[in-house]
Amino acid sequence: VGGTSGDGEALAVPAAVRIVDLDAPLTDVGLPARPGPPYRSLVAVARMGGEPLGAATISVDALGWVSREQLAAGLYSELDGQLPPHGIPGRTHRRPKKRSRRHSLSVVVTTRANPVGLERCLRSIIDCDDDSLEIIVVENKPGFAPTRHLLVERFEAIPGLRYVEESRRGLSHARNAGLAVAEGDIVAFTNDDIVVDPGWLGRSAKAIERSDDVACVAGLILPLEVETDADLRLERFAGLCWGLRRRTYRLEDGADLPPSLPHTRCAARSGANTTVRADVARELGWFDVSLGAGTVVGRGEDLDLYIRLLRDGHAVAYEPSAIVWRAQSDAKPHVRRHAYRCGIGVGAVRAKHKLASRPRVVLPSGTPGGVRRLERLGTLLGPAAYLVSRIAARGRARWLGRPAGRLDARRTPVELMLLGGEKAIEVVSFRDGEVARPPRAPGWHRREPAVGRRAAPVPTVAARAAAPWGAAPMLMLIAAIGVALVAVGDALARSGTGDGRMLFWAGVMTVVLPIAYRLASEDVQRGERVVLLTVFGLALYCVKFLRDPFAFTYADELVHVANVNAILQTGHLLTPNSILPVTPLYPGLESATAALASLAGLSPFAAGIVIVGVGRVLLTLGFFLFVETLTGSTRTGGIAALMYAAAPNYIFFTGQYSYESLALALAIVTVFVLARWMRASGSADSSGWSIVIVLVTAATVVTHHMTTYALVAFLLAVSVLTAVLPGVRSRAAPWLITGAAVSLTALWLLTVARRTDDYLAPIIKGAIAATSDTLSGEAATRVLFRPSAGPPAPVWEHGVAIGSVVVLMLVMPFGLWTVWSRFRTSPMVVALAAAGVLYGATLPLRLVPGAWETASRASEFLFVGVAVVVALAGVERLATSRMPRLGRWAIAGFAGIIISGGIVAGSPSESRLAPTYRIVSDDGAVDPESVTAAGWVGSNLGHGNRFAAEPSDARLLQSYGRQLAIAGVYPDVQDILHARRFEPWMPRLLRDARIRYVSVDSRRISANPGLYAFSPPSSWTAALFPGSVVGKFDRDGRADRLFDSGHVVIYDIRAMTHD
């Protein structure tokens, strides 16, 4: 590779590059699997006593394996003359000597919005095992929160870790900022795309201490792997090492440059492995800010420093045992561009130093002529580029009244920035050449006042002393008042003594607005946000619970509680459910509920309330953690989790006891863990996260079909986006996880839930057909705000619902712009943005009679994207707002509007408040008629009888009576129940369906008539079936009329069907 492996003709790509320490016995080398084609060769760099001897290229078998014998043979053939006479291995392993303590050491790691690479780099530096090491991370993109998050979350315990932000773009500015802050006598520079060898620092320091005139040491830079032919060409052209022989360069009298200094390679970012004496570098004038990455020149700052050092009488050493590894960048290497840029760098340095001789350019044999010509063109243009860059730098310095690039911040104050009040980082911020207050990234706040550098090692205790819980207790109290208002509204509705709707809205807004305002605030600790979100989630869950505090009343709830009863009764899963046959095939919710009911001694209702409540908390906190992980901002996470409450189904539908309520929470936790996995990809953490993902995904798969499909779709989208988005590390693509999720889904569908398609296909086909009919004008559009039962919504609710959609659509573009400008390299954020856009596209479906419900159900998933996008928009606007308080109120108001709109769109006006379920009597309370009828059936007729009934009664017979009740038209019991007289086919059908009992309900109301105390509203017409309909079984005479409670009559029809 580069100068070590000769011509490299035997090198077949992809190739891995590894150090082989000959101090220890040789072992087999197993190369890890890699995305794409497997490794074909291994470049083994032999090292003995820490000194690299040379490199050998060895073929790799199909499994990525190189045996010890192959390794020895390869090394012998390539390095025969340099190996010790007693062969390989022949030496006892020696522990590296500890570095002498003559000088203190600082490492400056420059980075620009690359936390993944930075983490890898920092971990390798920490492995250098130098207790007194000072590590300075310089972020050249101030306010880029993920870097701060990375440092406080993963490296908080590392002593000597410091964080610097430099606002002026450019590698030289960043290195100068690090140099300004560094306290060490010796400062080593490296970049975030570097992984250092454990002996790097020790050997660099040792080299600089070897002679007093050595002021700078450059080390060996090796690639971690050579992936493609383009990589190989790049390495041949610009391999960043200067050979394997230790050298010391000094300037001879009258010479421009040391004759052997390889200039081209100096101008190719060898500064990533450069160590200098700090005082010399400062006195000499720092790095030239007109050169280096981020300037017009783009290269040459390292070569410039070497030349200045040499001309100042110092020596520059090359130490090949000081090894660092350069990770391949995601961008494909372009040899031609690289050659051109190097040429510019060399030309600029030549112009600056007025070098008489043209710098010696080292190009390997076989370099294409075009590349050579580009390099020469760059050399010619270099002076002009330097001139432009210098004018720009000087102009800026003159504007600011300060010399460019010269500062000394060793005694300047720092700020302590707190992340959520739990973790802190010491920040030095340079803005326009002087120390400034660091910008506060979203979710961070500063500790005031910051006095002196390293002022307080543990700042969090003092910062939280005044109010350790923040405003959470007071907001909890306000939320409780909101809940109480809703309860009073429900009480008014149940008793019919007043209109509880205003109290309902007042209660909901009392919960939403203060918490939204607080979450929008910057100066809120992370723990407080977590508490507030938990309170928020539970308070809105209470709104649903207070509506139905006695029993489950929603249609789906009754189906699922019947499944729980079946599990508890039979001791097994998958007991058929005649009302909704698909539900027993997804027994996740019922399994957890039955286990809790059985173990904790709770009723299925109480256990279900607990499980769904826990799911609601998981959903809220999982959402928060998910967005926080993606954006690095606790504030964005908090606002996004709050905004999700504006999903039309949030309060009532996903708060009900139904399988998607739990599955949605599990899916959100899954994507949160996936985000953590992607962040930790390649590290030791990733395998653990991937196990969690697979386990929770499996639980989701057996809990709900549509949530599983949505989750798989999201995983697929993220995988594809990771592969295709530019600037994304393709290794982080979750293909294996996606494959596992798809496999689990397919396995479940093929083995257990084969009937899922029978359930979903008609719904989806119906939605498509209805959309087509509406578009073609064959069907009328749906009238909004007019429920199938009950009065239409008040006019003001129309305005709120439409207004919420309008403001949502107005804000979305801002969020999408933020996604584009800041997160377009984040596959998950891009996928979420796409989901948000898709949500907007589904809104017209609400005008289609046969498709609106499908669109409504899809909103549960698509609104995740909407919440993230609008949260990004809000936080971005707040960050630049000159009136933050007003901005926070604007966010709170926005949240209030869209959550109100979601409630209006998701639940009819009449169904939000409590119905008359249980009413008081003189001597106790009375339950609804159909409920007690179902209970009577369960107590007196035994369990598992086959019933024909109206849909709502059938659900009650299933859940309360534990019967196998059949409703609807498959088989067509509905027509039998609604017919005025018996037809000959009816007994046959009842016999074929093995119906033993019939429950006849005289009330003709579509929505759960049996669940509530009956009081036909005057506005409803024909509330009861005619006597001819309900009396036909009596007229027939063969049915036994067993039970009569007024509206509900139960017949035993065995005689009728067997005659």
Partner: protein, 264 residues
Amino acid sequence: MTDRRNDLLAVALWAATAAALLQFDSLPEGLRLVAGLSLVLALPGYALSYVVLGTRVLGPVERTVVTVALALTVSILGTLLLDLLSLNLSSRTWSLLLAGTTVVACAIARRAQTDVPRERSTRRAPRPRDVAAVGVAVAITWSAVVLARTPLRPPNGVTGYTQLWALPVAGGVEFGVASHELGPVRYRLEVGADEHATRRWVRLRLSPREQWTWLVPGVSFSPSNVVTARLYRADRPHSPYRYVRLRVSPRGPASTAHRSRRTP
């Protein structure tokens, strides 16, 4: 500094104890609730989180979310496994599954970890007014729940109802009346054959949620073996309020013995 391995040991002991306690049917409700909640919602997930994620930097919020999600996952997938193995799903099998998972996971996690210190908590005691605010909030929420669960007087127009039934039982017929009216009601129940003939009748007065049953053994009222019962309210004595009709098998001579039972 405390060793986090001790936490795992404590969790394993807690799970084992909870499982053992749950085998007793007479376990007090409070203990059963705590044991059940911890086994289903926490302990297996906590132990598993240390098996799969080790002691890596994981904040308390993240740990809590992962713990609960994994605990639910264990409940869901474990129940599925028990069913696949054709084991009966009961409190015994569930408690053994969840406690067993917890204990095994704790053992694995403890083996994988050595000397993992737990950070000393820097949390400070909350201010009295914060505690008071939280306490008042809990009280208000509790009051809201109590209000919601308190039956109220129904809106105008809502009335109660009464159930009447007739069930064939061994050697006779059981008639039953259950009142779900809003106040005490007086009834008259007439039992007869076919559609008209009245053989027996009885007067009743039932309070709300009170039930009365009447077992009439060896009934044979008519050649057609059809038994009818009509329930009249005292305030509407000429209009049947409820009506049932049942065909019975002939059982020889009718007995005059009958037995009635009143339950609250």
